[in-house]
Structures are given as C-alpha cells and as structure tokens.
Symmetry: C2
Subunit: 259 residues, 2 copies
C-alpha cells in the first residue's frame, strides 16, 4: 500500500463502454493497464490494442500480480467470473451502480467499488473531470486508495454505501435512460411526420439547462400540469404503439404532482 | 402592409410565460407594444409595467388600431376571447403548438400563427436567437409579415402547416414536459434517500448532449436495453407511488425498440 497511487498496476475485466472509457482515462493519467480480459475475443483484442496492452479471453491466464482488478461487466456476469477467480491478493473493484459491495464476499479478501455516474457510449469522447465517482471498500485503507485513484480522474469523489448507491443508480435510470427514451419517442413522432429531428435541439437543451436553476417540479410546463383534457385527448388520438399508454401515465403523474 | 416591419404596433393578449418572454423580446427589437390584456388584473398590471405600456382587463377596451394582436392564452380560453372580439382589422395571431389556424375562422379576416418552440418559465432569461419559430397565415402577405417579424427574433423561422405543427407540439411534449418529469421523479428518489440532487447534473447534461451526435435509439444504455430482469425487479421493489408503473412501462418500451 506504500506504492504511489499512479503506479498501481491495473487489470481490466470487461471491454464494454465503461471499461473502455475508464481504461483510456486511467492510462492517460499514467496508470499501467497491464492486461485486458473479455469473454469475447474481438472485444478483448479491440480494447487491448487500443490500450497497447496484453489481452486474454482465458480467466486462468489473468495476471496474478496486479494491484487492482477492475470488473466492468454486466451485473449478472460478475458472480460467474468471481466463482472462477481465486487466490488473488490485489484489490477487486467493480464499477456497477446497482451491485452491492458484498458481491465480493467469499471471493476476495480486499474489495471495493468505483462507480462513475455517467452514461458511456462507444465513439463518444468524454472527460471524467466533472463526473462524480462514488467509492466504497471493505477496508478503510482500500477506500482511501480508491479515493486517490478516483481523484486522479475527477474533482468529485464521494464515499457512498451500497445501500445509498443503489438508490442513486435507480435515480440515474430515470434521469438518463428514461429521459433518453422520451427523446427516442419524440424522434419517432417527428420521423413519422417527416419533420427534422434537429428542430427539437434548442428545446431539449433548455429543458436540461433549466433545472440547474429551478427544481424540476417548478420548471414543469405543458398540457399535463393543469390536465388540459382537450389537448390531452387530441394527443392521445394522434399516438400509435405504446406511446399512447406512456403519454397517459406520465401526464397523470405530472398532474398529480402539480396540484 | 407598406409599414416597415419593426413599426408594427402590437397588442398582447395574455400575460403568462409565453406572452411575457415574447413581449420582452419584441420590445427589445423595437416593436411598439401598445397594450397588454389579461383577465386577471395582477397579471395585466405586472406585464404592463414590465413593458412600460398600457394594460387592461376589459376586452371592450382593446386598442382597435394595432397592427398585430398576439394571443398567448390557454388553448381553451382562445375561442372564448375570440367570441367577444369583433371588427378588428389587424392581424390576429396565436402562439400555440396544438391550436389550428382555423380557430380564427369567422372571428377575423386576417389571421396567423407564430409558434416559438421552447419551454418558457418566468424568472428565466432566454434569448430567442436559436429558438425555431413556426409561422402560418391565411394570406401569403401576412405569412411574409410574420416571417419578417419572427426573423427579427430568431435565425430559424419556418413556415409550417397546422397539421404538421400539431405533431411537432406532440413531439415537444415528450422531449420537454415528459423529460422534465423524468428529472422530477429522479429528484424524488434522491430526496427520499437524502442524496444531493446536483449529483445527477453531469449525467443529465451528457444525456442531452449525446443525442446531437447519436440517434437516441443508438444512445440508449442501462438495464432496460437487454431487459436485465434481475436489476429491473430489484428496482421495481424499491419504488413507491406511480414511479413503479412508469418504470415498468418505459423499460418495456425501451426494450421493444432495442431488439
């Protein structure tokens, strides 16, 4: 633990969006990424080549001498990987919002979480500077180590329990995934009517910008606030597929909170 | 119609968010706002004073000599107002996304629409420069006049039929009002768990920024994409009120589009 933070040798397990963005960012800050593991050869190779490092699809070939093993795999896959990995002395860390720290119990002696709260897409450049990173570990020294590692990436590093983190992740599903789906449904309506999708850009930007100054409940506008039945019924009659059901339930939910 | 555009004398009917933002912006561009009407005295007076102009709550006292009458009132109120306003020779214009041009038929000889596609909140400064403004009129000369007026406010002025405009407005409800409601539900979850609302700001910004480069369907991430039942069931068990029903219907809708 007396090694300087930036010399921590890292193995990445997983080669998806989070692993890729995190691997690139850690390497840029000087951390040696000594190996990349992925179940699929193509993913392992792509990320290995991107980081100019060793890659493998074989769990038994994982480098046993790394300092930190970062698991960025699908939630359901993590326990399967852990079942096959014994006798590592390095710090095991996952990056998932909804997986408790306790997932590592019985599989490692030192373990932690490093959860960057952001939506990661391949082919999209991101800087970590302002992305909040939430850390947790079973030993205080490892929590401190993860704080130091995370502080190399972001100005906003926050220790957070698994219990709190799972609610944070749930809130993020609404604020990010569900918001993005509203954009997707909106795009469908435009496309079905041969209207240019970019027409909504200023509206989308302002909707996101506004809530930095106003609470979203104060910022709400539109027909659902006062449940303008004339407009709402006309809108429902214009919608196809599952959009009508979503329109109705969300409008009622808006109205309920504006009374 | 030979009067220069910027000399068009304007009466504003309505004193809500759209009327206020539009009135301020038009006045800044040099248009004389000769009168403000609102049913409620306080609103009429507030906007009248803000624009240093005459205000009234009496429809029979509306200035008969204005060039343009801009109606920014609730959709259901517009027909009631029109029923009581006869014998005006000026151009009647409304600013609503979902109200057809034909609402004016039988109530005026010259009429049009000037629809700024944006979410307007009081106490929030906005510039119109990049806000798309959609115009329509029953005479070509008046459509041209509205184009010129709108061009004083924004670089993006687009003639659009009532039929197309109603779908644009519907798409905007999803992209703005429903998106904002996802922020509101997300805030509720954070508040219920004593988590700081600003933690989600970088995520919300990136979610909005990402779709300038990626189609929202390409940009989607999170448990609903592959319908990760483990995570989704855990999330559903953590939700109260109407949030569980919304979570479920939106997750299914995301999954359906990612297959």
């Amino acid at each position: 633990m007396n090694k300087p933070t930036a010399n921590q040798r890292i193995v990445l397990l997983g080669a998806g969006n989070v692993a890729t963005h995190l691997g690139v960012a850690l390497q840029q800050k000087g951390f040696p990424i000594v190996q990349v593991y992925s179940r699929t050869r193509q993913s392992a190779q792509e990320l290995g080549e991107k980081l100019h490092t060793d890659f493998t699809t074989d769990l038994s070939a994982i480098n046993p001498d790394a300092d930190i093993y970062i698991f960025s795999v699908k939630d359901a896959v993590l326990p399967e990987l852990l079942d096959e990995m014994d006798d590592f002395s390095g710090l095991f860390v996952h990056t998932a919002g909804s997986v408790p720290l306790s997932v590592f119990e019985g599989h490692a002696s030192r373990f932690g979480v490093l959860y960057p709260l952001q939506t990661f897409s391949k082919n999209r450049v991101l800087t970590f500077d302002h992305i909040p990173i939430f850390v947790e570990a079973n030993f205080k020294e490892d929590e401190n180590l993860l704080k130091e590692v995370a502080a190399q990436l972001s100005q906003r590093v926050i220790p957070l329990s698994s219990e709190k983190r799972k609610y944070l992740h749930l809130a993020a599903v609404f604020a990010c995934n569900f918001t993005n789906h509203m954009y997707a449904l909106s795009s469908e309506i435009l496309e079905e009517n041969n209207l240019d999708g970019s027409l909504l850009s200023p509206l989308i930007e302002e909707t996101a910008a506004k809530i930095k100054e106003l609470h979203p409940k104060e910022a709400q506008t539109g027909p659902a606030v006062r449940y303008d039945k004339g407009v709402i019924d006309r809108h429902l009659s214009m919608l196809n597929g599952d959009k009508a059901a979503i329109y109705e339930i969300v409008s009622k939910s808006i109205h309920r909170r504006s009374q």
